[in-house]
């Protein structure tokens, strides 16, 4: 039983949406048409554009020539949902993928339930709905054909965009689209048997590929609109400061500068080009005063350490009797793991377009949470949400940063103050220093060992601003160890923090998987064996415990698969292997990293990865995500270093902040556990285990354990 998928949402009201859609159309559909969202060049060439479109429901329309447009509802941040979500619709519609065009849908809360890119949930939560969207339209097309032939729809079936009736009668979807669009939307529809899938499970290329390789303006930063001004903003350089006054006469003299406007503690410079706006910001002379405490990471370190030792005020999980287990233990192992703040560093810096001057407010740009952006804009402008149109561009990365619409708020506010359409642009320095950072955190992990068994386990989290999501407390090793306690403490800070790709688990997984590696060594068992044994013990408790989401059996399958593919324990003495396995975002992942000493430097050469994400929608995109997550995980574990001194960020650009580069990326082999279970997401799950796999392999290669990230700061041996 897969609990991750038990809480299925009810089928959304596509019927009503579709019913209305046929007659009313949607404002965003019109706006899409006006904006002439260009189809990828190669597809556009191959396909004759239809003269007439028939809207089947909010997700798709069909042309009289059989060409289909599928709207992708969720924001595209590089997780490839703009390809994989429409694949699901196309599968159930039963069309040839060659005849499908994909367009990004704008924000439409009436038509779509969840237009968010976050938590690796697009595929998991969209699965049923997207299938039904395709299947509903298919059923309507069959009904339309059957009534034209005057036969029973039950005697008809579809194949690649054709309806086939008795005596091999044939009609194409295009032939009946106009009649089908007039029909009642069926309540119940038949979904395909997964064994009949023709598109799902096939590697399909990115639908935007032609635009990307030819440099088309697909991204937010590429936005250009009539009469638009560029805005850059001078923000307080340190957290805790507020703007007192400023001098702008020099800035105003520069070519292209149109206006300088104070809003709150910030100063917006408006100009006719990006460079003029950026440059003019350097000519503003602001004076700041200390408003709130000027915080430093050194002090956070002390605070968090102290919190690890204080009596816990909040337990997230408390099984058995940990006090007793620790008292009676033969041996207690205690380790502390420490994580720094991290900026997101999307390669495309934050930006947003807003035009608050007209009857309709237009918001356009890269945002993971368009609905939130709209509701905040409504408050800022004191206008009704219905007067605000939001559309999303392709995004140059998200990683959680674009969940927070501080930039869309700023764009809206500046546009309204300047009375002009405004493209707000963050410089890289703005992006890195006005972030919403991964909070610094520390974990104390303790194990009580008795008679060669782990009988007690304590995990204490001390974090800046917020603690782990409740669900995480019930991840492994919950269920595997009878006396187990998860407790959390936090330290409030004025530094803005938030979700960073795989929140909490991006570091916690490293801590935990390093800890179990050390326990295996202490207990003198093989690291893979220890994990397999603990998962075995977790099976029964996990069945009974509603809160435990992960499946011990599925995790064992991943570990078995990765150990097999990596040849665990069978490589020669020069290859040092480390294992790590972690469930997050409803997906199970196990990784083996291999370190070799090259020219005296321990080097991560290879990572093997086994994943159970249920049905794999698009293997091409899936493998890309998994590779990227692993490289990201390794990069930040090795190099990611960010801190504050009196509220001021330690780095402002890539000369002072190290990101993983091409030569440092290991080879990666990805394997999927074969499955017919409903799919789960892949934007995050391969990241959390990566740091632990590498740390465990580095230990084997060097004899050094890592307790703190980034690893390069802990030792000089890593080069």
């Amino acid at each position: 039983m897969d609990k991750g998928n038990m809480k299925r949402r009810e089928f959304f009201k596509i019927s009503s949406v579709a019913g209305g859609g046929l007659l009313l159309g949607f404002s965003w559909m019109t706006s899409c048409k006006q904006a002439k969202v260009k189809a990828p060049a190669a597809v556009a060439e191959a396909l004759e554009m239809p003269k007439q479109w028939y809207e089947m429901n909010a997700y798709l329309k069909i042309g009289e020539n059989g060409v289909v447009t599928i709207y992708s509802q969720n924001p595209e941040i590089g997780q490839n949902v703009k390809t994989s979500m429409p694949m699901i619709v196309a599968e159930e519609l039963d069309v040839d993928w060659k005849n499908v065009l994909v367009e990004q849908a704008g924000l439409n809360s009436k038509a779509f339930e969840r237009q968010v890119a976050g938590g690796s949930q697009s595929i998991r939560q969209g699965w049923e709905t997207l299938r039904k969207a395709g299947a509903t339209a298919r059923q309507m097309l069959i009904t339309a054909a059957a009534s034209q032939w005057e036969v029973d729809p039950k005697d008809c079936y579809t194949e690649n965009g054709l309806i086939i009736g008795p005596e091999q009668k044939r009609l194409s979807y295009g032939d009946v689209a106009s009649a089908a669009a007039e029909l009642e939307v069926p309540e119940e529809v038949q979904l395909k048997d997964p064994k009949d899938f023709k598109i799902i499970g096939q590697g399909k290329g990115n639908v935007d590929i032609d635009g990307i390789i030819t440099g088309k303006p697909l991204f937010g930063l590429d936005t250009k609109r009539e009469g638009m001004l560029y805005a850059c903003v001078v923000r307080p350089p340190a957290f805790g400061q507020k703007l007192d006054s400023f001098e702008d006469s020099e800035a105003r003299k520069l070519t292209g500068v149109k206006d300088v406007i104070r809003f709150g503690d910030k100063i917006a410079v408006l100009a006719d080009s990006t460079y003029s706006a950026m440059k003019a910001c350097r000519f503003i002379e602001p004076k700041y005063e200390q408003d709130k405490p000027a915080e430093s990471s050194i002090d956070h370190d002390k605070e968090l350490k102290a919190l690890l030792e204080k009596p816990a005020t909040e337990h997230k999980r408390n099984d058995g009797n940990t006090d007793k287990a620790f008292k009676e233990a033969d041996q207690v192992v205690t380790r502390v793991y420490e994580a720094p703040f991290l900026p997101h560093n999307c390669l495309e810096p934050m930006n947003f377009f807003a035009d608050a001057t007209g009857e309709k407010v237009i918001m356009h740009g890269p945002i993971q949470t368009p609905a939130w952006a709209r509701s905040r804009a409504a408050k800022i402008l004191e206008r009704d949400e219905s007067e605000i149109e939001v559309s999303m561009t392709r995004m140059g990365g998200g990683f959680g940063r674009r969940l927070y619409g501080d930039f869309s708020d700023e764009a809206v506010e500046i546009s309204s103050l300047a009375k002009a359409p405004v493209q707000l642009v963050f410089s890289r320095e703005d992006d890195m220093t006005a972030g919403t950072y991964r909070p610094a955190s520390k974990y104390k992990l303790e194990a009580a060992i008795k008679d060669d068994k782990i009988v007690g386990y304590r995990m204490r989290e001390a974090a800046i601003n917020r603690n782990m999501f409740d669900a995480i407390a019930h991840f492994f090793p919950a269920g595997a160890i009878p006396n187990l306690q998860v407790s959390v403490m936090k330290h409030d800070s004025n530094i803005s923090t938030g979700a960073w790709r795989a929140p909490y688990t991006n570091f916690l997984a490293f801590a935990e998987q390093s800890f179990f590696d050390e326990l295996a060594e202490i207990m003198e068992v093989d690291e893979v064996q220890l994990r397999m044994d603990l998962l075995e013990q977790a099976k029964e408790p996990a069945e009974k415990d509603e809160k435990i989401e992960y499946s011990p059996a599925r995790m064992q399958d991943c570990i078995r698969l990765v150990a097999d593919k990596a040849g665990w324990g069978k490589k020669g003495a020069s290859v040092h292997q480390g294992i790590s396995a972690y469930y997050s975002h409803n997906t199970h992942v196990a990784e083996v990293a291999e370190v070799e000493i090259l020219d005296g430097v321990p080097t991560v050469k290879k990572v093997y990865c086994a994943v159970d994400c249920g049905i794999v929608i698009n293997p091409k995109g899936a493998i890309n995500q998994i590779e990227g997550g692993i490289i990201d995980g390794i990069g930040h574990a090795m190099y990611g270093d960010f801190s504050f001194d009196k509220g001021k960020p330690s780095a402002s650009n890539f000369h002072s902040y190290r990101l993983i580069r091409n030569q440092e990326a290991p080879d990666i082999e990805v394997y999927f556990v074969k499955s017919n279970i409903a799919p789960t997401g892949l934007g995050e799950p391969s990241l959390p285990p990566a740091g632990g796999a590498v740390a465990n392999a580095l230990y084997k290669a060097t004899g050094k354990r890592f307790y703190k990230q980034p690893f390069v700061k802990e030792t000089s041996i890593l080069g």
Binding site: A41, I77, G78, Q79, G203, G205, N206, D208, I209, D210, I212, I213, T214, G215, K216, P217, L218, F219, L221, D222, K224, Y230, T255, G256, S273, T274, Y275, S276, K279, C346, L347, E348, P349, R394, M395, G396, G397, G398, F399, S427, R428, K620, N624, Q625, E627, G628, G629, I631, G635, N653, F654, H655, L659, I660, R661, N662, Q663, A665, D667, I668
Partner: protein, 150 residues
């Protein structure tokens, strides 16, 4: 404001801009060639890579007044998106978010011009200056390899 005459993608163009304006912003804002990306502005990420007389160069650090060469951007790399590098990028489905990829492709195309059959190590070295925040490095290298085949 001074007037500059430049050649971009084989077209001769005139641009009025402040002399310190980096080529990157002239391309993006003045010439509507937004394929060349801004990532850092300090020569660290490679997102802004263009060709100057065929050689990969960071456009974010080059003031328009210092431009002495012919410029090729991603929009001009080929007429129909069929440069071997572009084709290989498509074949390997390299991009995730796609933001870094114009810069990656321009670096790759320049590498292959100078060294048509680079070794794996040479590919990694040549591509090391281009950051991909999404971590598509493995596919980038495979695509360069494919594009280098006759």
């Amino acid at each position: 404001m001074p007037l500059y005459q430049l050649t971009v993608n084989n077209k001769s163009l005139k641009v009025e801009a402040d002399e310190d304006t980096p080529l990157l912003w002239v391309l993006r804002d003045h010439l509507n060639l937004a394929g060349t990306k801004y990532g850092c502005g300090v020569g660290q990420c490679g997102a802004c890579t263009v060709h100057l007389d065929g050689k990969a160069t960071r456009s974010c650090l080059l003031p328009i007044s210092a431009l002495k060469a012919e410029v090729t951007t991603i929009e001009g790399l080929s007429e129909n998106g069929d440069h071997p590098v572009q084709q290989a990028w498509k074949e390997h489905d390299v991009p995730q978010c796609g933001y870094c990829q114009a810069g990656q492709m321009m670096t790759a195309a320049s590498l292959l011009k100078q060294n048509p059959h680079p070794s794996d190590a040479e590919i990694k070295e040549a591509m090391n200056g281009n950051i991909c925040r999404c971590g598509t490095y493995l596919r980038i290298n495979q695509a360069v390899k494919t594009a280098s085949k006759p």
